[in-house]
């Protein structure tokens, strides 16, 4: 099963868990699996139309899925999804 890494800002919604095993063959399915296990994450992860929240970056291993195929990006059993808030520098 793929693993989703939970950022500190979301851990109050996952009962403090830092990693959650998720189901799904795509990024979208895997994130919906996370939301089904921890309902409070759904509003933060997705917009009203089911799209990925603009301020959330999701990485398949270490590559941003928005530059891959977005929520349709294929996920393998040994993959890790890293969820992070978008942070600036400068």
């Amino acid at each position: 099963m793929p693993t989703a890494k939970i950022p500190p800002v979301l851990r109050s919604s996952t009962g403090g868990e830092k990693e959650v095993a998720v189901d799904g063959a795509t990024v979208g399915d895997a994130l919906r699996s996370l939301a089904s296990q921890h309902a409070d994450t759904e509003r933060q992860l997705f917009g009203e139309g089911g799209e990925l929240n603009r301020y959330v970056n999701v990485y398949l291993n270490d590559e941003d899925v928005r530059v891959l195929d977005g929520l349709d990006t294929a996920v393998g059993a040994s993959d890790t999804l890293v969820i992070l808030p978008a942070m600036a520098g400068g």
Partner: protein, 325 residues
């Protein structure tokens, strides 16, 4: 009087003042990092700028633009959120041109950044360290809304930021190299990536654009919700071919490799782009990979990055708490 012939012409050039000397930085090959002879990696050393970072280009561009449009004139107080480098660059230029400067900066930056800002006479307002640059942006926007007398260049949304690279950094790269297979840039405001990418893509649409993004330590992710995430308005993600995150640990490991293998004393974000440049180069059969090293290591000495081992930095919490970008 005839002098000895210069080995490298033109030399650094002759300028009316220090602000005019910004840019024209050296492009240095990283031979030890090259995975194969047919692939060459080049780094533009922005530490050669007057205050030691790439942000001199951006600060000059934003101030020039504001003067040209009549938005500011000497005496006008400038307000800007920054993780350090942009503030330091603005401080030097504002000092030269007669603009009082107030910067909003996370409280957990290295002491050197505070010292440099104070040296140039900037006033510093600290934002919560655990919110990183996002917290500085939010606080500066609040201050600007509450007091309309400030002028905020706002590097995250100011097109003069990427333009500094479109008209500067990228042109300088194209002067030195006939072809660029891939460009790797760090993602902070997005200015370096957007401006350089647009010019390089115009020159050769096949040039691959790769963003190296910092993975902040967990203790620098102290936001209240994911909605406190921040994406600079100048970023157009469609220009990117890849976007890869780099942990503080990997960035530090590669910063040390730069010293050990190439003799380059660079900041931690340079280690991050070096790591991704090597990875991109490894996937190529031939061509030039170009990156920008945003600054030198001077401003990070007090963090212990250059004197402690990675294990010591992990043990004392530096990798989780420090703000390097």
């Amino acid at each position: 009087m005839a002098g000895a012939q210069l080995d490298n012409r033109p030399c650094g050039g002759r300028y009316a003042d220090i602000v005019a000397s910004i840019g024209h930085t050296p492009l240095v090959e990283l031979k030890q990092f090259s995975p194969k002879p047919s692939v060459r990696i080049w780094a533009k050393l922005e530490s050669a700028n007057p205050t030691g970072s790439v942000k001199d280009r951006v600060a000059r561009s934003m101030i020039d633009d504001a003067e040209a449009t009549g938005a500011i004139s000497p005496g006008q107080t400038i307000l800007e959120p920054t993780s350090g480098n942009t503030g330091i660059s603005l401080a030097m230029i504002c000092r030269r041109k007669g603009y009082p400067l107030k910067v909003v900066m996370p409280e957990n930056v290295t002491a050197e950044r505070t010292q440099l800002l104070a040296m140039y006479g900037a006033e510093i307002v600290y934002s919560p360290g655990e919110q990183g640059s996002n917290g500085a942006v939010a606080l500066a926007l609040e201050m600007a809304e509450a007091d309309s007398s400030y002028y905020m260049p706002y590097q995250y949304g100011n097109e003069a930021n990427p333009r500094a690279h479109y008209d500067g950094t990228a042109v300088e790269i194209l002067e030195e190299l006939d072809d660029v297979a891939a460009f790797v840039g760090g993602l902070g405001t997005g200015g370096t990536l957007m401006g350089t990418a647009r010019r390089l893509k115009e020159a050769d649409p096949a040039t691959r654009i790769v963003a190296a993004e910092p993975l902040q330590g967990e203790l620098v992710q102290g936001l209240r919700s994911l909605d406190d995430g921040f994406i600079p308005p100048i970023i157009d993600i469609t220009l990117l071919d890849r976007k890869i995150f780099v942990s503080n640990r990997d960035a530090v490991v590669w910063t040390k490799k730069l010293i050990e293998e190439e003799g380059i004393f660079a900041g931690v974000s340079s280690g991050a782009v070096a790591a991704i440049s090597h990875r991109v180069a490894s996937d190529l059969e031939a061509g030039n990979v170009v990156t920008v090293f945003p600054d030198g290591g001077w401003k990070y000495l007090s963090s212990g990055v250059y004197t402690k081992t990675v294990e010591e930095l992990e043990a004392d919490g530096t990798l989780e708490t420090a703000s390097f970008w």
